[in-house]
């Protein structure tokens, strides 16, 4: 656990992850043993969602993965999900309840479940945990995430070719590195085809809040944006673009139903392949902990169908970017990268490594709005 000890300073007696270690014993004593007849019964796979399954975004796509898993593995497994789990004290209870209820594999699908998942994992060494977008692992806790920023570069290219006002509105969710990275990749794609264009960002400080997302989108339109992008999970910004006759991109899932004219394409999170692969590994006994960060090439990130109204030249430019990223000839955040103050952060010919990507907290040139500090 790299994060338990701070290097170069006093060693902190941080909260021992063993704090909940005895919980397993107690739960076992109360007749809720985790490996209850796992050999004979189907493998119970639990999913913990941060939003409602009907958010039409993040949690919806994870649930699509769950449904694909059921369809693929049939009677070998059974699945359970708990939706809208707050990322505070409640997460640990829900994960522990799933683990104690005989689930052999649990997918915790939000960053805020990280510490809770690790605590519970310590108490249930026979249960396998998969945590989405976190950075702490254990022998029975693997992490996975997708390189959404690759897709954001592609839609940035489309935005750059479609904008007339040269102002792009971007509804930011929560200012964490993943979102900042996405804004930067989008802006790099945008300015690769249209150096005059800028990105205005409004933070709503929530992953799913249709009301706030709508307000943010309307404000961005009022500030001159004619193309909207979003890192929030509801289709509200797409609906705003549809009402105003502007363009927008779907987030996490194909949102074209909410604005067929406005919806240019969407970055789709496709967890189906990963969930099936990892569940098969548990069934085969070949599962090992690790970190997976898949992108366009692995299919974990996909670009949905292009709007038929897009000119062929725009589709060709987007496809060129997508192919370049897939084959590795194009890095969405390749240097030279300069920050908002004009300082060069990444030199020409270089690209930030995964550590730099994972902790990115500064905006590239062309983004208007403040980076979280």
């Amino acid at each position: 656990m790299r994060t338990l000890i701070r290097s170069g300073g006093p060693v902190l007696s941080r909260r021992s992850l063993a704090a909940g270690a005895a919980a397993g014993t107690l739960l076992a004593a109360s007749g809720l043993s985790a490996d209850r007849a796992r050999a004979a019964d189907p493998l119970k796979v639990g999913f913990v969602y941060v939003g409602p399954v009907g958010d039409y975004g993040w949690s919806y796509q994870h649930d699509q993965g769950r449904l694909a898993l059921e369809a693929d593995l049939g009677d070998a497994i059974s699945t359970t999900y708990v939706e809208s789990v707050p990322e505070g004290a409640d997460a640990e209870r829900v994960v522990a309840q799933l683990a104690s209820g005989g689930h052999g594999l649990i997918f915790a699908t939000s960053f805020g479940f990280m510490n809770a998942t690790l605590k519970v994992a310590k108490s249930f060494p026979d249960v396998v945990f998969e945590h989405c977008t976190g950075y702490k692992r254990a022998d029975n806790v693997a992490t996975y995430a997708a390189r959404f920023y690759e897709g954001r570069y592609v839609i940035g290219v489309i935005a750059g070719l479609m904008t007339k006002t040269n102002v792009i509105g971007y509804v930011g969710a929560v200012p964490i590195p993943e979102v900042v990275r996405g804004i930067n990749a989008f802006t790099q794609g945008l300015r690769s085809v249209n150096p005059e264009a800028t990105v205005k960002v409004i933070w709503v400080n929530s992953w799913y809040d249709p009301g706030k997302e709508r307000e943010a989108a309307e404000t961005l339109v009022a500030q001159g944006a004619d193309v909207l992008s979003q890192h929030t999970d509801s289709p509200a910004p797409v609906q705003v673009a549809a009402e105003k006759g502007l363009y927008a991109f779907g987030q996490a899932t194909d949102m074209s139903a909410f604005g067929p004219e406005a919806h240019l394409t969407a970055i789709v999170d496709d967890w189906r392949g990963y969930y099936i692969e990892r569940t098969r590994a548990v069934l085969d006994g070949t599962w090992t902990s690790g970190d997976t960060w898949g992108g366009l090439a692995s299919g974990m990130v996909a670009i949905s169908d292009y709007n038929t109204a897009l000119p062929d030249t725009v589709v060709a430019a987007a496809e060129a970017a997508r192919t370049g990223i897939e084959t590795g000839t194009l890095h969405p955040l390749a240097g030279p990268l300069t920050d908002q103050a004009g300082t060069e952060r990444v030199a020409e010919g270089e690209a930030p490594d995964d550590g730099a990507l994972l902790s990115m907290d500064w905006f590239v040139e062309g983004v208007q709005g403040q980076a979280p500090r």
Binding site: R2, T3, R6, P10, V11, L12, S13, R14, R15, S16, A19, G20, A22, A23, T25, L26, L27, A29, S30, G31, L32, G46, P52, V53, T80, Y81, V82, E83, S84, P86, E87, G88, A89, D90, E92, R93, V94, A96, Q97, L98, S100, G101, F111, G112, N115, Y135, V174, P175, I176, P177, N205, L358, S359, M360, D361, P372, R373
Partner: protein, 380 residues
């Protein structure tokens, strides 16, 4: 108001005003509301295609059948009871503190700040003084936040409902600023959360092997303290008089301003303590999601418990049960999370609806022949 009774001009049940509010009904209506909720819930489950008895068992009983479930029930109820007890002191005196959520956040910030400082400043992460220190800081943090609406109300007659509510959002942004900025874990990949607290800053477990921590005892102590204050002290009497009849309180020489301060500081202090209990208990660090709205749910708990400390204790446990039962329903029966919200809404709806029985009685007789027959107590 001259005519208080509602009368239906056809035969059958009719509502008739009581001469005075029924004490029995004050305590019975929460049970009536709970009973109606269960019945409506059974209909709901049947409509969703589930065996109502089994679904009700899974929702209300199954969480209580394991040590894990019981301990989690108390963990969940602790912040609700703490906040609601403090709020009840103010509500009894007509002091409408809607900002317990913000006061909770400030308590968490003050207590968490001390924990983070101690973790940096001492090689052992702080000694046995740390937890009591965090409690004091938590209470002070909540009180400081509640003092703002108290000051504005007593000085400028500003509406404390609006001020306390708006300050909740300010508190959320303050916490967000701290965990995005100066208090961010330097090893945390710039995610908005603080470092994990040291062991010295964590509340010890009450039952080994569970998450049940000694914070639950703070909630019991708060209930006992509030009972003495409200039911057995002269100050409690003053709060009640000022709440029911401010001018009468004024003639008796009771200070309205004092009740405002007392109500807000009690609510703020206990909400701040709830914030400390959450971050030093089950969470163990600061981040932006420390409360899923406990301060707001506590308002429902306070009224469900009739603003009586013991009632609040029961109401807090009941409300906590609806959350746990909601999880269990999802896991066992695959029902959506919205069922939890429906149940909580139904409890409040039925409680408010059955409150009519406190001031009215149901008569199953023919209506009076002429309207001129005025029942007892109809003129005021």
């Amino acid at each position: 108001m001259r005519i208080r009774g509602m009368r239906f001009r056809v035969g059958g049940p009719r509502l008739e005003a009581r001469a005075e509010r029924s004490r029995a009904m004050v305590y019975l209506t929460p049970l009536v509301a709970a009973g109606l909720t269960v019945m409506a819930g059974a209909v709901l489950f049947a409509a969703l295609g589930h065996d109502p008895l089994r679904a009700l068992y899974v929702f209300f009983v199954a969480p209580l059948t394991t040590t894990f479930g019981l301990s989690e029930l108390f963990v969940k109820a602790t912040p609700l009871v703490l906040c609601a007890t403090g709020l009840a002191v103010g509500f009894r005196g007509n002091v409408w503190n809607i900002g317990a959520e913000g006061q909770l956040i400030l308590g968490a910030i003050f207590a968490g700040g001390l924990a983070l400082w101690a973790g940096e400043a001492f090689t052992d992460g702080g000694g046995p003084w740390l937890l009591p220190g965090m409690m004091v800081m938590g209470i002070l943090g909540g009180m400081a936040w509640a003092a703002i609406p108290a000051l504005l109300r007593t000085r400028f007659n500003a509406n404390e409902i609006l001020v306390s509510l708006m300050l909740t959002y300010v508190a959320g942004f303050l916490l967000g600023y701290l965990v995005h900025g100066p208090w961010r874990d330097p090893m945390g990949f710039n995610f908005p959360e603080s470092a994990l607290f040291g062991d010295a800053a964590l509340l010890p477990a009450l039952v080994s092997g569970t998450r049940l921590h000694i914070g639950a005892l703070f909630a019991l102590a708060a209930v006992a303290g509030a009972w003495v204050l409200l039911m057995r002290s002269f100050i409690g009497f003053q709060i009640k008089v000022v709440g029911l009849a401010p001018r009468a309180g004024g003639y008796a020489g009771f200070s309205g301003a004092r009740v405002v301060w007392l109500g807000l500081l009690c609510g703020g202090g206990l909400s701040g303590l709830a914030g400390m209990v959450e971050v030093a208990g089950p969470i163990g660090q600061l981040h932006t999601q420390i409360s899923p709205g406990y301060g707001f749910t506590a308002i429902i708990v306070a009224f469900l418990g009739r603003l009586h400390p013991l009632g609040i204790l029961l109401a807090g446990l009941f409300m906590a049960l609806t959350y746990l039962g909601g999880d269990t329903l999802q896991i066992e029966l695959g029902l959506p999370r919205a069922v939890t919200g429906l149940f909580q809404g139904m409890v409040l709806f039925f409680l408010l609806a059955s409150d009519v029985l406190i001031h009215h009685r149901v008569r199953w007789s023919r209506p009076p022949v002429t309207a001129s027959v005025a029942p007892r107590g109809e003129t005021a």
